[in-house]
């Protein structure tokens, strides 16, 4: 059976990336909760002054989908952060997958002239940190020693 050894030393880069994911998770969760509150206010008819309401049903659906994704990504980032702190191989893969999605989105935005260079730079740094040789070794599944 493949298990994680608790004795594996956590590389410093992983700690940094873990904190970044924790921060990202917290920010996304806060944005999600704020969005949810705004949506509730809109739906309940109380409204908010200065709030841009969706003009069409399609726009409303897109915003709702974005809200759902943000709400999903927040806890996911928190889970990934915890997995990274505990050196779990699945956390490494999920972190890479999340950054892949993030980079693809950022490159798409760059191509249509709405680049977010800070987010792009952060993602590049996170990927290069996760792909370092010692980090990869730390996250490789190990065989349980006998006995």
């Amino acid at each position: 059976m493949r298990v994680r050894s608790e004795q594996v030393r956590r590389p410093r880069a992983v700690t940094v990336v873990g904190w970044l994911f924790l921060l990202q998770g917290a920010v996304l969760a806060a944005i999600g909760v704020a969005g949810l509150a705004a949506a509730w206010l809109v739906v309940s008819g109380e409204g908010l002054r200065g709030l841009d309401l969706p003009a069409t049903a399609g726009e409303a659906a897109a915003q709702a989908l974005l809200l759902l994704i943000t709400l999903g990504l927040g806890p996911l980032s928190l889970i990934v952060a915890l997995g990274l702190f505990r050196i779990r191989p699945w956390a490494w893969l999920m972190a890479m997958a999340l950054q892949g999605v993030s980079l693809a989105t950022e490159l798409g935005s760059y191509l249509i002239g709405e680049a977010d260079y800070l987010a792009m730079a952060m993602s590049v740094l996170i990927v290069l940190s996760l792909n370092q040789q010692e980090v990869r070794v730390a996250f490789e599944p190990r065989e349980k020693s006998g006995g």
């Binding site: 893969l93 950054q99 490159l107 680049a115 792009m120 993602s123 290069l128 792909n131 040789q133 010692e134």
Partner: protein
């Protein structure tokens, strides 16, 4: 137990006895068509031709007139002419049909002697190598090659010969050189059908292969086997050689080395298995260098894992081929299916020493893979083979003293070293005195302006002498370390601890492991059709959706990679690979957008770091 590793030999054995005593056991792969044979009938069935520099081919001796004797006659010719033998005449339709029918029946019946590739070569490598393999296959249509039905014709001819004389033959040669006795075993095959029979690199008429067993002269007159070297594709020198007592690397059968011959290629291997070999493409040398530089930067400078962690053992810019040396077919040698008939090449016959041409068809292949080889003594260009004129150096054994001389050589080296150390001691002492005197002289000269010229000259002499003394001291220190190492090794050998038998090997052929060969039929099928499908898809895009060519190609490539990853169960690797690729592209975008800011920030950071270092030093 079958293995006898310490067989010894009584003195005064004849060369033939020696050859027989250590003649190899050769194990072939099931499906092999050609086995080592005598050259006489082959030559009698051949005609001799000359290829002229202007492209003409001219017959020199017709089929009826050629024999080993006439082949050995000296022939003069112009520069650039290539002499070659030609065995195969094109098959007529009836012969070819009969042969193909026979092969088809064998396939249908699941004939025991039939070769099955199992996991194909393309399933063992990535897309880059597969694409190059496709280009290589297409290039055969353009460059010279042995015609398609030649292998069939050679097989038919060889079968006819076997009906007359079925005993496998080797040509033996014994060379006494520098304390070693090299027993060379040369094997002649009618045909190399690696490409047409076993999906390999090339086909060519005639094939010469060789192995060498090295014996050492012992003080009591005995000769003991110590090393063995097998010729194999692009391996050279030390990498060809295995120690006789290295039971993990060298298999012995009743004191005879066991050779596993590659199917069709007849290259020799020490262990049974399937060997993924690579063929370099000369025109891609620049691309390979560039890719290696990028990989080195990625792995060493950026300390990234992707380039080496996921790289296959094989270079993307080389074409992969599998040499099947399974050893599950015919076995030749002592105690095997068929015994050897030895032929001693002593005195060296004229067909060996005088005929410098090719032993089969000259296919005009610029890469040489499809041209027939020369005889045992010569390279294709007519120069003498190293294996012939220096059989000891050929396997890198020229630097290894025979065991009987080992101690003497070691002692002599230690003595030479000790003598040099004494010399160095004396030299250092003398020059140190001179150095001291110069130092004193310089001290005395200081403060005397009228002696400035003398001061400068002495200063220059002192500088040179000081450097010289430093060099001598360094040599003495290194000599001391070497003497200690020699002493340690002498003690080790005295205690009966031999050197590592594999310390000399830098690169060795490794058969594919069971894990390498675990792959589903789906993966194999996909590997076989993917490159072809990609080309078809490209053509479809060009015809019907030219305006979407680039996005279409990208989507197609992505789809192909995804399918392959799913089939190979490497989705995790795919995800990380894509993410890293996106990160690299994003990094390039950032550098492009902010190169000035990045340069300024870098310099600022360097300046701040240096300031911090200096301030920290001040505070200490």
């Amino acid at each position: 137990m079958a293995e006898v590793r310490e067989r010894q030999l009584q003195p005064c054995s004849s060369d033939l006895e020696l050859l027989r005593r250590y003649e190899p056991v050769v194990r072939y792969t099931r499906g092999e068509e050609f086995f080592p044979t005598h050259v006489d009938r082959y030559v009698e069935a051949c005609s001799l031709w000359a290829h002229r520099p202007d492209g003409r081919d001219e017959p020199l001796v017709g089929k009826a007139g050629l024999s080993l004797e006439t082949l050995g006659q000296t022939r003069r010719d112009e520069f650039g002419a290539v002499h070659y033998l030609k065995l195969i005449e094109p098959l007529n339709v009836a012969e070819l049909t009969a042969y193909l029918l026979e092969q088809g029946v064998k396939r249908l019946r699941g004939h025991q002697e039939r070769f099955r590739a199992e996991l194909g070569r393309l399933a063992r490598v990535g897309y880059g190598s597969r694409l190059l393999a496709a280009i290589f296959a297409l290039s055969l249509l353009l460059r010279g090659r042995v015609p398609g039905e030649t292998a069939a014709a050679a097989a038919i001819t060889f079968r006819k010969l076997r009906e007359q004389d079925d005993q496998p033959t080797y040509f033996g040669r014994v060379v006494h050189d520098d304390g070693w006795i090299a027993l060379q075993y040369w094997f002649f095959y009618y045909f190399n059908d690696w490409r047409s029979g076993f999906y390999g690199v090339n086909d060519h008429e005639a094939d010469w292969e060789m192995i060498t067993v090295y014996l050492s002269h012992e003080p009591d007159g005995q000769a003991v086997p110590r090393w063995v070297a097998y010729a194999s594709h692009d391996f050279h020198g030390d990498d060809l050689r295995r120690r006789w007592d290295d039971s993990e690397e060298l298999e012995l059968y009743e004191g005879h080395p066991v050779v596993y011959a590659g199917a069709g290629s007849h290259a020799s291997y020490f262990r049974p298995g399937e060997y993924l070999t690579e063929v370099d493409i000369p025109h891609l040398a620049l691309v390979v260098r560039l890719a290696n530089a990028v990989r080195a930067f990625w792995v060493r400078t950026l300390r990234q894992a992707g380039a080496d962690a996921h790289a296959s053992h094989f270079n993307t810019f080389r074409i992969p081929f599998v040499d099947y040396a399974r050893g599950d077919g015919v076995r030749i040698g002592v105690g095997q299916d068929r015994p050897w008939k030895p032929v001693l090449l002593e005195p060296v016959p004229a067909w060996v020493s005088q005929y410098r041409g090719l032993w089969g068809l000259y296919a005009r292949d610029p890469l040489s893979g499809e041209n027939a080889p020369s005889g045992p003594m010569f390279n294709r260009d007519g120069s003498i083979r190293m294996a012939w004129y220096d059989p000891v150096g050929w396997a890198g054994l020229d630097k290894v003293p025979p065991p009987a001389r080992e101690r003497e050589v070691q002692e002599r080296r230690s003595d030479t070293l000790a003598a040099r150390q004494i010399e160095l001691d004396a030299e250092v002492a003398a020059k140190s005195v001179e150095l001291h005197q110069l130092g004193v002289e310089l001290a005395a000269l200081r403060g005397h302006p009228h002696l400035e010229a003398r001061y400068k000259a002495s200063e220059e002499r002192l500088r040179r002498l000081s450097a010289e003394v430093g060099q001598l001291r360094s040599e003495r220190a290194h000599g001391q370390a070497l003497a200690e190492a020699l002493g340690e090794r002498a003690a080790r050998l005295e205690a009966g601890v031999a050197d590592d038998p594999r310390a000399h090997i830098r690169r060795r052929a490794e058969p594919a492991t069971d894990t390498d060969l675990q792959s589903s039929r789906w993966v194999e099928g996909w590997a076989a059709v993917s490159i072809g499908l990609m080309l078809v898809g490209l053509v479809c895009l060009l015809i019907w959706a030219r305006e979407y060519l680039i996005p279409g190609m990208l989507a197609m490539a992505a789809a192909f990679v995804c399918i392959e990853s799913i089939l190979r169960r490497q989705v995790a690797r795919l995800i990380s690979g894509i993410t890293v690729a996106l990160a690299v592209v994003s990094a390039l975008v950032l550098v492009y957008q902010f190169y000035w800011q990045i340069a300024v920030s870098g310099m600022m950071a360097a300046g701040l770091y240096l300031t911090w270092l200096n301030v920290r030093e001040l505070r200490r």
